[in-house]
């Protein structure tokens, strides 16, 4: 009985992992397809054509550039805003922190279609044309919560007396922030920024409402179901996957290293 239930649980676990992995496999596989028609949905023959010529479709290339610009800009702003909130919530007890917490969680528990449509109704109300600016505004809005909560989770429980030690040794508050506080919270900030960047690059629903006539990469993919779905879409999706995996691997290594270094530097103090 005991063996059976264990075996069953392991079986389900392996099955679920395969289920999670299957579409990813299909995306990568079909980037090497040479489709019969305009739609890359049926396997025909192996080919490197799409990889040799990833930017064959001008509009696809432009949409990717737009997505990267939006992601860079919104991540930069949201990371600063979110980190400041996380610092306030972990370093200080203050009246109204409950409201701040609630306001951070609510956008995460609101369906995207509601976030997108309510922003659009604001822009319609004040006669703002939707476009690049409104996409960035929307992306900052939904990223701030993710950044604040990620950074807060990472820096909670850190030994803040190090700041006092630096002050006691005569450092100015400015110097304390850049020499002590920032290095401590940096890994959390980097993780949060990567999350915000990935979310922005991937966002479809909120962007659909607020993009006007601009076309981001997900919007291009959405439109592609009508006209043509070239394997270049899969090539770019695979490229995003590879770059994210490399970035993730690099940050994990970097965090291990900084943790080790800090371990050595901090112990003599304690």
């Amino acid at each position: 009985m005991r063996k059976l239930s264990r075996w069953l649980m392991d079986g389900v676990a392996v099955f679920v992992l395969a289920y999670l992995f299957l579409p990813i496999f299909v995306i990568v596989l079909y980037s090497f397809n040479k489709p019969a028609g305009k739609f890359n949905f049926v396997w025909k023959a192996f080919s490197l054509d799409a990889w040799k010529n990833p930017f064959a479709y001008e509009a696809l290339y432009e949409s990717m550039k737009l997505s990267l610009r939006v992601a860079a800009l919104s991540t930069a702003v949201a990371t600063v805003f979110g980190t400041l909130i996380a610092l306030a919530l972990t370093r200080y007890r203050f009246r109204g922190s409950g409201v701040v917490n609630l306001l951070l969680v609510l956008p995460l528990t609101t369906p995207e279609v509601v976030l997108g449509s309510s922003l659009l109704s604001l822009f319609l109300d004040i006669n703002t044309r939707t476009g690049f600016g409104t996409i960035v505004i929307a992306h900052i809005m939904f990223s701030v919560s993710y950044v604040a909560l990620t950074v807060r989770a990472r820096i909670r429980g850190f030994d803040w007396t190090l700041e006092e030690a630096a002050m006691d040794l005569g450092a100015t508050p400015f110097r304390v922030f850049f020499k002590v506080t920032l290095p401590i919270i940096a890994p959390g900030i980097v993780a949060a920024a990567m999350l915000a960047f990935a979310l922005s690059l991937d966002d479809f629903i909120i962007t659909l409402f607020n993009a006007g006539n601009r076309i981001t990469y997900p919007l291009y993919v959405y439109g592609a179901r009508r006209a043509a779905f070239p394997p270049q879409i899969n090539v770019l999706a695979t490229a995003i996957l590879l770059v994210s995996l490399l970035a993730l691997g690099a940050t994990v290594l970097w965090q291990h290293r900084t943790l080790r270094q800090r371990g050595m530097a901090v112990t003599p103090l304690a």
């Binding site: 676990a13 999670l20 990813i24 809005m141 989770a153 006092e164 990935a198 779905f229």
Partner: protein, 280 residues
């Protein structure tokens, strides 16, 4: 910057408010105020008052119910699939733990839409899944997977499964292993130890995971649009369509508002029980 050291000074009492100000201002202007605008828009129809809500509920009640059913089904299936995997990773994966966690979040690294199109490829007529089910005689001649409820619920389950697995994993990981050992020392069967010790302690993760799956699934329209037929249309499609194509803003806004109101009441009730911190 250094608040705790100089506790009572005026500057440090102001400091947290200055730190939260830019982000909170952004959320007020682009989240709170739009919600108010949405409410106003919903009440601004030519006939005025609550007529838009009346139309929303009488004409699209079926879409609300369908979205609710699909989201609930996806949440339950994700729980049934996600719990064993989270348990496996937390208790039995040994050195493979980080690798398996990486595999769970791997789907996030590819574009949501491309992932859903990959499911379209898999479930297509003449595609591998239909062929397999045909060979096993589980699907009759001319039987399809695409454009069915199964495809839509399967797609929803897939997209939000990691949101179910990760919170459950976190709550399982926190459990003190000695509690399980103690139960076994006291002659509890593994099943009883699981039911009386592990399961209750993992419930916060189950609650959080269920919400994080149910809410986005309820508002989603991509899976229904790409993997389903008009018979599987969800409320998200209607809202999107009314806002961007038909441009009946009062109706579209009232639909959004009903969707949000239903979900917010549920979340607030939940937050009262468990505290907002567990949600993150």
């Amino acid at each position: 910057m250094a608040g705790t050291a100089s506790g009572g000074s005026r500057r440090s009492r102001l400091a947290p408010y200055l730190l939260v100000a830019p982000g909170m201002l952004w959320l007020v202007v682009f989240f709170v105020i739009p919600t108010i605008t949405l409410a106003q828009t919903s009440l601004s129809g030519p006939e005025g008052g609550w007529t838009a809500y009346h139309r929303a509920l009488t004409n699209y009640g079926v879409h609300f119910f369908r979205s609710f059913r699909y989201a609930l089904a996806a949440t339950l299936i994700a729980l049934a699939m996600g719990y064993p995997l989270a348990y496996f990773i937390a208790f039995r994966s040994g050195k493979l733990k980080n690798l398996l966690l990486g595999l769970v979040v791997l789907p996030f690294f590819t574009t949501f839409l491309v992932r859903t199109f990959a499911w379209k490829t898999i479930l297509n007529d003449g595609g591998p899944a239909v062929w397999l089910l045909h060979s096993l005689r589980l699907l009759g001649d001319g039987g399809r997977l695409l454009d069915t409820t199964i495809a839509v619920v399967g797609g929803l389950t897939y997209n939000f499964l990691p949101f179910m697995i990760l919170p459950i994993y976190v709550s399982l990981e926190k459990i003190d292993r000695r509690l399980v050992e103690a139960a076994e020392d006291l002659y509890s069967t593994p099943m009883a130890a699981f039911r009386k010790v592990v399961l209750p302690l993992s419930l916060p993760g189950v609650f959080a995971g269920s919400l994080l799956t149910f809410i986005p699934a309820m508002g989603d329209f991509i899976n229904a649009q790409l993997l389903g037929s008009p018979n599987q249309q969800m409320i998200g499609t209607v809202i999107q369509n009314q806002f961007l194509e038909v441009r009946d803003y009062p109706l579209a806004a009232s639909l959004s508002f009903v969707l949000m109101a239903v979900i917010t009441i549920g979340v607030l009730a939940y937050a009262r029980v468990l505290g907002t911190e567990d949600l993150a």
